[in-house]
Symmetry: C2
Subunit: 468 residues, 2 copies
């Protein structure tokens, strides 16, 4: 019989992912040895970061006419100004402009019948703790289209020339909508079957191992979390757990159990939010941004809220030493990113916020219930909704509470407290029109497509997978 010309879009992928999820350890790098391996990689990494005045940031300068902060080559990114007019108010702010599309990619491969992810111990200048666990590849477009001018990026070809690779995930997703203008990256997972070398700084981990690491502060970096969130997870073989929360979470993965709102209604709610949103965004010279000022070492607000722009000098490398300067965005404080959750008929739902943010390509994305820097919104009249409820919740209702870092290549010590908490019975089931109770299987389905879930919601979805 002739080989069929058609490929099924196999649900076998979900089963194979589940097998990896249910494999909590692996002889490739036993979990007990992982801390020592990571410490060794950190020790082998020579990396020094020092704050410097802008004038000492080599290659970077303020445009004479606009005050925009740019690299002389025109590459990398720029800090410009933005004027925002929205239903939440009007304001101006600096913003990072980086329109290029980079690749965040994880290679997966079967060892002994179980999928493993090729992860990298990678240091970034803004990390609070030096080395974190990163995807196989993090490459900006400048990086990967001009590799002949610099060091080759290991494993990049597995994503750009995929002759022997099978794509599991390949989707554009946005990044921080309050700090970036129209930034998005290509989130990719490819499976290879050929033998590939395991370079220094790289290790193979099962999804079960990675999910355990998501319960550790500042270990799995933002780029890894967003890529992992886009995998088509199901949970066949979830244990009939005695814990009713885990049971409700497992049921939330099963489309056959339905949900509080039909899929068509979830999409309609999102369309309605986009139609309703009023947002005007105008780029303007950084020099003229109202409420912000610049001295030799920082661009910030007099009240210290939101963030500052600073510059750092970086020295890296053991064999080839490389050295560069760059700006970083330093948030004013630790943020809070949280899903409130509630069971309906024993199925866990998450309270999703249709959030207008000025940096998104299309104005609105689905966000966690709470996402803010609490100290930057002290006025009780405009306190972020559900923040005070979350901060006052019975600790016994908190199911996940871990510090996670945002991207250390652009942000300085940007750490958020990621929380999942179950509301009590008094919490209203009817919520404001820009919020909706959504089941996990509905979020996972939407993650096949661009620009539904924002980066904070994607991170939280990945964290949820660590709760089994």
């Amino acid at each position: 019989m002739a080989r069929s010309l058609l490929y099924p879009d196999s649900p076998a992928t979900a089963v194979r992912l589940a097998e990896s999820v249910w494999t909590p350890d692996s002889p490739r790098l036993p979990s007990a040895q992982f801390p020592a391996w990571l410490a060794e990689r950190a020790a082998a990494t020579e990396f020094a970061v020092a704050p410097i005045p802008f004038e000492r940031a080599r290659g970077w300068g303020f445009d004479e006419r606009t005050g925009d902060l740019r690299h002389a080559s025109g590459r990398f990114f720029a800090v410009e100004g933005l004027a925002v007019a929205s239903a939440q108010g009007d304001w101006e702010q600096p913003i990072i402009v980086q329109p290029e599309i980079g690749i965040l990619g994880i290679v997966v491969k079967e060892f002994d019948g179980v999928l493993h992810c090729l992860m990298q111990a990678k240091v970034e200048p803004g990390n609070v703790n030096g080395v974190q666990l990163s995807p196989t590849v993090q490459a900006t477009h400048s990086n990967y289209t001009r590799v002949h001018q610099g060091r080759e990026i290991p494993y990049l070809e597995l994503f750009t020339r995929r002759a022997n690779a099978r794509v599991l995930v390949d989707v554009l997703q946005s990044e921080q909508g309050s700090w970036f203008l129209h930034k998005r990256n290509r989130n990719m997972v490819v499976e290879v079957t050929e033998d590939i070398p395991t370079l220094d700084d790289f290790c193979w981990l099962t999804l079960g191992q990675l999910q355990a690491m998501l319960r550790v502060d500042n270990l799995v970096n933002m780029d890894a979390r967003t890529v992992l969130s886009c995998l088509p997870f199901a949970r066949p073989g979830a244990p009939a757990d005695a814990d009713p929360f885990v049971t409700a979470l497992t049921r939330s993965l099963d489309p056959a159990l339905g949900a509080r709102h039909r899929d068509a209604d979830v999409r309609s709610w999102f369309t309605e939010a986009k139609t309703r949103s009023e947002l005007t965004v105008r780029r303007r010279p950084l020099d003229g941004v109202a409420g912000w000022s610049r001295d030799g070492e920082r661009i910030g607000r007099a009240d210290g809220r939101h963030f500052q722009i600073i510059a750092v000098d970086v020295t890296a490398g053991s064999r080839e030493v490389s050295r560069w300067s760059q700006p970083l965005l330093a948030p004013a404080e630790r943020g809070v990113v949280a899903f409130l959750a509630r069971r309906f008929d024993g199925v866990l739902h998450f309270l999703v916020h249709a959030r207008v943010q000025h940096g998104y390509l299309d104005r609105v994305e689905m966000a966690p219930t709470v996402q803010c820097l609490p100290g930057s919104h002290p006025d009780p009249a405009v306190r972020p909704r559900f923040l005070d409820y979350l901060l006052g919740i019975d600790p016994a209702r908190i199911r996940y509470d871990v510090l996670q870092s945002e991207e250390g290549g652009r942000f300085h010590h940007a750490v958020n407290r990621y929380v999942v908490a179950e509301v009590d019975a008094d919490f209203p089931t009817e919520v404001p029109p820009d919020y909706l109770w959504v089941a996990l299987h509905q979020l996972i389905e939407l993650l096949r497509h661009s620009h539904y879930l924002n980066v904070e919601a994607r991170s939280l979805v990945t964290c949820l997978h660590s709760l089994w």
Copy 2:
């Protein structure tokens, strides 16, 4: 037992749509009486359209500084200039700027157990033939948020306050990417169960009746075609037809039969096309647009290619007479919009083009194999790909060939020849990287989401449904 709090996302909708598809006639308005009904509505419609010089277009004028063509109120839309730099070349052109999101909505309701669509006989100033069959509601955002200032739009509340309506479709979709900048409309289908009046100019038709009408030139308008394309069609109960083309088309609706490319690979191909595309779009004053000039009656090119901007005066209404002027975009000629199709293992696939267009919010959407004004690309070196193949194809291979109109509210006599043709065995299975063979069930799945299929591809998908 307590009522479940959860709704299943029911596949019953597809079954009910199929029942409507397989109902070729209806006592609500028998197909044999439809021509007479439409002629009566046309006769009852007083409507006169006359080309006028721009200076006589009341309310419209050219901005003194930029030459942009605008309404004095700032409402409706504007004609501005655009400079485009792309891999296909650099050029400048006028473009219609209409950033507001309107509603294109069809009400459906069961009569005798079969879903019927509430369609409207509607005249638009740019139509070649006066009245066409339109959705229940076509409303710009200015229309529907300021209705107190004008006539009420019938049935609008069924879309804006949906207490008793069930949403089947609610998705933002783009419109012509070469003529509009970032224009999109909310495509909606809502099902009602309550009794609602059937106003003059409105009629109830089954999907089977509508699909027969899609084989008639210039009858079902563009807005109706795009809304219908977003319905979650399946084809349970398709006949075991002797015609191998119809059999292959039926098989193309069945996800269980798979496809030439996995769903993940279709999405990856689309992501790759967006990442690869190089497109820079700058707005500029209409006065300075290179290659275009304005006289008292038109804005156009010396070579007559592409399109002109003209103005018309419109008198409408039988009871309340209303009169207005407006600009229209008049294409230079009849266009060609075509899918080439091919069977793989007996499953029909369509050759989809990842098309870069300057008016899209995100640069690339999936387009038909051929989409162009043939006379505007006479140079054989840059002839649109597959156009000459299509024009020379054996007529026996043409499965659909009908003239369809584009939106008569903005375009003057914009008619395209919509074609579906099966390629012969010599046609290469390997195609250029921006083309892909895609099965119909894959297109239908993508139509649940915004900005995958462009308006021409959506129209063609609706036409395909008329081929059973």
